[in-house]
Structure formats: structure tokens, C-alpha cells
């Protein structure tokens, strides 16, 4: 079954108020084109789930700055002063998790489970008494699964069936989000016919993917960020 869609069709499936996972750690894996279309269509009241807030003026920061995001679930926004300011001004509700815990909460939803028991941050200020579980003689923190209505992902290569291959450090949260979201939308600059990949090389099986958008080219958003180059 061909899952190809235009970018307009694919993003139009997202209603205001939706809970949307967005792949990427910094730039790599950020689906800038899908984000731009979401900016253009203007859905509001979104809850975004992403490792970081990109940098000011880039990626999901555009959606935040445009007032489309009411809540961000993330791990670290230190590189985005605009997002920090909006948080401090009370205009953006942010929920922080340790990075691997965020990954694991998403993956837990993706595995069809409901939560997991951990000792990370057990006796730190991130743990509330009501998160604690005494079980078989030990105390654990219960971390609940984190699912979403949609996931927006970037794949280096994809096929019509939704099989995905990521590249470099752009894997990060994407395979987990593909599993955890009810409706998964992928952009790729390289859309192939089924059979293009060796079956062992596929990172995300097409079963998890609903919609594949072919990008004619990658904009400058996807390029090197000059101030991260060490001289």
C-alpha cells in the first residue's frame, strides 16, 4: 500500500490541540519541512514532545515563537534563549525529563506498555512522593508511558511502504516516536520503491508509518550551523 502524500495533505491531518512528537536532537533528525508546513497551516494549542527546542528562530522554536505551542515536553532547552524566556514569563508550559527517561517513556508507549520502574532520580527533586512504588521489597520510581497523536519525523531514506532508514546522529528519538504515536508522518529527500533496502538495514519497519512525504530538496535549515563549527 502506497503511503505517499503531499506535505499539505499529511499535515492537514493534524488538528489544533494535538499532541505531536517531533524527532531530532539539535538539527539532525528535525523534520524542518513538516514543521514549516505546520507553521503555514497554523494549528494551535499544540503539545510538542521533542528532545530540545531547537535554537531560536529554527525548527520547533518557530512554532513556539508563533504562539502555536501551549506545552513542551522535553529534556533540555539550554540552546534556545527565546524558549527559556517564554518559559520564565509563564507563556510556555514546559515539562522536563531526564533525557534517557524521556526516550524510555516514549519507547514504553511504543512497546504497548503503560509505564516502567526506574531508580533514576529516585531520591532527587524531580521525584514526587506519589511517583514512588514499593514493590517486592524495593522502592522504585514509576515513569508512565508517553504516547502522542502524531509523530513528525525525518528519514534519510524511505520507501512507499514506510520503511525508514536514518543517518548519522539523526536516529535519536525517531524510531521510538514512530512506535509511540498513533499517526506517523515522515519526510524524506530520498523516496525509493520497496525492495531498495536490505531488510536487516531498516531502522523503522513500515508497520509503524502512516504517511510519507517526498521532499524535492533540503532547504538551508538542514545545513551546517556555522556557530557550531570550531575554528
Amino acid at each position: 500500500m502506497k503511503k505517499n502524500q503531499t506535505i499539505e495533505q499529511a499535515i492537514a491531518a493534524i488538528p489544533s490541540g494535538a499532541r505531536v512528537m517531533i524527532g531530532g536532537f539539535g538539527n539532525p533528525g528535525t523534520p524542518f519541512s513538516l514543521i514549516h508546513e505546520l507553521l503555514r497551516q497554523g494549528q494551535t494549542g499544540l503539545t510538542l514532545i521533542k528532545n530540545d527546542a531547537n535554537e531560536a528562530g529554527h525548527g520547533i522554536s518557530k512554532l513556539i515563537e508563533n504562539g502555536q505551542v501551549s506545552r513542551l515536553i522535553t529534556t533540555h532547552i539550554g540552546l534556545n534563549k527565546r524558549a527559556i524566556d517564554l518559559m520564565n514569563q509563564g507563556q510556555l508550559d514546559i515539562e522536563f525529563h531526564p533525557q534517557g527517561i524521556l526516550a524510555e517513556k516514549i519507547r514504553t508507549a511504543g512497546a504497548g506498555s503503560f509505564g516502567f520502574l526506574t531508580d533514576i532520580g529516585l531520591d532527587s527533586e524531580i521525584t514526587r512522593p506519589e511517583d514512588l512504588l514499593d514493590w517486592q521489597g524495593q522502592t522504585y520510581k514509576v515513569e508512565m508511558a508517553l504516547s502522542a497523536d502524531f509523530a513528525l519525523l525525518h528519514a534519510a531514506e524511505a520507501d512507499w511502504l514506510g520503511n525508514l532508514v536514518y543517518r548519522g546522529s539523526a536516529i535519536n528519538f525517531s524510531p521510538l516516536m514512530a512506535m509511540a504515536a498513533d499517526h506517523v508522518i515522515v519526510e524524506t529527500p530520498s523516496l525509493a520503491a520497496p525492495g531498495h533496502f536490505r531488510p536487516e538495514h531498516i531502522h523503522t519497519p513500515g508497520a509503524f508509518v502512516d504517511s510519507v512525504v517526498s521532499l524535492a530538496q533540503l532547504t538551508s535549515d538542514y545545513g551546517i550551523i556555522d556557530h557550531h563549527v570550531r575554528r
Binding site: G121, Y222, H228, V229
Partner: protein, 218 residues
């Protein structure tokens, strides 16, 4: 030699051949450049890399390949790439031999605070908590005092902790200090400073090792 260079020059010796090491954002991430090009180490980056290496040559830089600090790294021979869940599984399963990390405060029990200054700085904890709590050996790199000259090595941390009793060694611009069952023990001095002067710049009580040179009991 700048203060940072003094810390980094000493810190690089912590990396033993064949080990798997995570280098925190900021000062620690710069240690990589002090290693010989052929050094046998695998640098883990929590965004999904085992085998990250020095910044790629300009023509080889890949916008889809950064480390957790945002640098356009190259990959060493035998590098692997994986998702964030696997990356933190490596951390939580204690498959890292060493993490070098920065600190706002560190104390005589090896407690570490490096992620939050309530009311001033709270950009999220990132991967620090899991690294600090689960790496077999944590070495803190920090200036001995803050920019106001106040001690950063405290009797007891006052800021929210990243992890408890996690630090094995503290390398500052002045000294190498181990966290031991008997409190903090100064192993080396990196500048010409008396015991009394070093103690004055340190809130926590320091013990001075009787032997000379590097010696690790942590």
C-alpha cells in the same frame, strides 16, 4: 597556559586505553582534542554515538552528524550509531567506564550539583542525571572557585543534586582531589600552592595525601 588548558591537560590522563568514555558538554567535551589521533578510546555521545571523534575536516562535515554538544564530529573506526533508548541503555547498564562532567557544586560526600540554579538557571537536566548516577567512574572538571572567588567544593551541596555520592575525583585548576571513604583527599597540586591556601579556597575539609604524585584510591 589558561585555567581551562591546565584542567584539560591533567584531565586527559584520566582516559585509559580501551575505555568507553562520555565527555560532558562544555569543558569536558574539549578533552578530545588533547588525545593523540590514534588513541584507543571510544567516545560515547548520548545522542546516539559510540566512537565519536574530533571535529571533521571542513569538507567532511556532515550536518546530520553532531555530538551531544553540537560539534560536527567525525567517527572513529568501529563507531556505531543508534537511537536514544539504546544510548541511555548503555549508560544505565553501566557500560561506560568514565564520564567527565562539569559542576556548579561538588561536596565531600561526592554529591554533584550541575543542572539547576533555582530561580536563575533551569534549562532542563538533559542526560546529566543518568550519566552521573550510572557511570562507573565520574570525574568532575571545574574551576576551584566560582567567578566571585567563592568555593565550589563544599561541605554539603546547596543546589539541587544531579546525583548523590557519584563523584570519584575532582580536577580543578589547582588540584586533583579524590572523594574517599575518609573524605576529600588531595592527590596532586597543579600549581604552586600551600596546603593552607588550597584549604582556604575550599569549603570542604581537605586531607593531604602523604605520598607524592598521582594515586587513586577511589
Amino acid at each position: 597556559m589558561s585555567v581551562a588548558e591546565r584542567i584539560l591537560s591533567r584531565a586527559v590522563n584520566e582516559i585509559t586505553p580501551g575505555s568507553i568514555v562520555n565527555l560532558g558538554i562544555g569543558l569536558p567535551s574539549r578533552i578530545m582534542h588533547y588525545l593523540p589521533d590514534d588513541f584507543d578510546v571510544q567516545i560515547h555521545s548520548e545522542n546516539g554515538i559510540l566512537g565519536a571523534w574530533k571535529q571533521a575536516a571542513p569538507e567532511a562535515m556532515d550536518p546530520f552528524l553532531i555530538d551531544a554538544a553540537g560539534a560536527y564530529v567525525s567517527l572513529g573506526q568501529g563507531a556505531s550509531l543508534f537511537d536514544s533508548a539504546v544510548s541511555f541503555a548503555i549508560i544505565r547498564r553501566a557500560r561506560l567506564d568514565l564520564t567527565m562532567i562539569g559542576a556548579f557544586e561538588v561536596d565531600s560526600a561526592g554529591n554533584l550539583a550541575n543542572w539547576k540554579i533555582p530561580g536563575k538557571f533551569s534549562p532542563g537536566i538533559g542526560g546529566a542525571m543518568e550519566l552521573a548516577q550510572k557511570t562507573r567512574r565520574i570525574v568532575v572538571l571545574t574551576n576551584h572557585t566560582d567567578k566571585y572567588g567563592k568555593p565550589k567544593i563544599l561541605h554539603t551541596c546547596r543546589l539541587p543534586l544531579t546525583a548523590k555520592a557519584c563523584v570519584s575525583r575532582i580536577i580543578t585548576d589547582l588540584a586533583v582531589i579524590d572523594v574517599t571513604g575518609d573524605g576529600l583527599v588531595v592527590r596532586e597540586k597543579l600549581v604552586d600552592i600551600s596546603d593552607a591556601e588550597l584549604q582556604e579556597k575550599t569549603e570542604a575539609e581537605l586531607n593531604f595525601a602523604t605520598g607524592e604524585g598521582p594515586h587513586d584510591t577511589a
